[in-house]
Subunit: 223 residues, 2 copies
DNA sequence: ATAAAAATTTAGACAAATCTAAAAAAATGG
DNA sequence: CCATTTTTTTAGATTTGTCTAAATTTTTAT
């Protein structure tokens, strides 16, 4: 089956919204896709006819098994292309989303799988989000602190423990903020300090104390 | 300016047809694009309104300067993606066209230029066709024989001189046919024989006599 | 020169994806 | 429990790219 880019965008948006609320509303979809709610209603009828989702009017929407499968395929393509752009074509992590938004609709599945191989079957994209594998399995991400991250692992800042002004000043100075993505460049056993790199800034060293204070979401098996 | 994939396909088809006939007819375009002639007429009006071509009804069509420029950009993308698929993702040269037909419509021009750099600013695609550079210049291709091709140069078989049964048997044995693309792997000064490689077959050595008999179109400045 | 053939355009439709405005259903809150 | 607000759907258009059938123009060949 081949679906239009528009339909694929709907399916992907529903999948993402479903992570939070089990039931996805017309208005939340309209907001996510930047369309009029009326357009969403129209499209939901078509997607239902194609068995990609369950939908009863006024009742919200849920993906079927095949809808989920499709969503995961698109997300896989999106994240692999993002990583390709950053790793191989030297793009910054902040400029790749819009391009991947187009590339994710290229239909060849052989292409995605070859790209996956070319990139060494990576587990996470440049933003730290997990890349589904060929079978649609999504690698688990670990919730922990920078002090436990492996060398060369990517992660995204999900929280700060000690939020004292002194600590926040240090973090702000190093551009460490909620949602920021970072890479552990090196771990020093001497003092258990860690060298980390944030996009657009030189690498910096942080003490074990600070590293334990930065909560992150990161891939379980980097490399 | 951003154009739809459909419009880009029209512009590209007109450009290619223009290489032969200076004047491109509605029917030839319809055939090339596998659409009804009426659809072509409709689209030509739109493309004319966008100043991409000159068009008077019943009079055929010609690209304007900006139409040509757009065509060359699309061809550049198409051929760079084809080469990427063959060189980096191990696709066969015969399976890449359809995928490139989709990839050529990805809009980011930064992406194409980075891809160009990633591939080492190549001069020809896997089919031996020239790749326009960033400024839209198309490298000249030379018309000659295998015996004059430089080492590691790619070329496409454009003709056979001696067509005796004996010669044809030898050529067929080595899978050398009109339209085949080949690469010169090594030139041996000892006997002026040449080792050539055809897609999907092991490299073979051909004598100077045979090399002089295979006419090819190839890039002037390989590497 | 003119009739037949071929090429091209026009007319009228249609599917996909979108919109605005109006109607209907559901949720909320006194 | 009912009135108001919010959400969602329906109705009716619009744009883009396509189609078939019919009309028109150009070309070709007697
Ligand atoms: Mn998209
Ligand atoms: Mn991402
Ligand atoms: Mn195309
Ligand atoms: Mn090609």
């Amino acid at each position: 089956m081949k679906y239009s880019a528009s339909k694929e965008n709907y399916i992907k948006a529903i999948f993402h919204l479903q992570q939070e609320l089990e039931q996805v509303s017309t208005n939340s979809l309209a907001e996510a896709l930047e369309t009029a709610p009326a357009s969403v209603t129209d499209m939901l009828k078509k997607l239902k006819a194609q068995q990609l989702l369950q939908y009863e009017r006024y009742r919200g929407v849920r993906l079927t098994a095949s809808g989920k499968k499709l969503a995961i395929q698109i997300i896989r393509k999106h994240r692999l292309w993002e990583l390709f752009l950053v790793e191989k074509l030297q793009f910054g992590w902040e400029e790749v989303h819009d391009i991947a938004e187009e590339l994710e609709h290229i239909s060849s599945s052989k292409l995605v799988d070859r790209l996956d191989e070319f990139l060494g079957f990576p587990k996470a994209d440049p933003h730290g989000d997990p890349i589904p594998d060929m079978q649609g399995r999504i690698p688990a991400l670990r919730q922990s602190t920078v002090s436990e991250m492996p060398e060369s692992g990517f992660g995204r800042v999900s929280g700060i423990g000690d939020q004292s002004p002194a600590m926040l000043a240090l973090l702000r100075h190093n551009h460490i903020a909620l949602g920021a993505h970072l890479q552990v460049r090196k771990r020093f056993e001497a003092d258990r300090s860690v060298e980390i790199k944030l996009a657009g800034h030189p690498a910096v060293n942080i003490s074990e104390h600070v590293a334990k204070n930065i909560r992150v979401t990161y891939e379980n098996n980097p490399q």
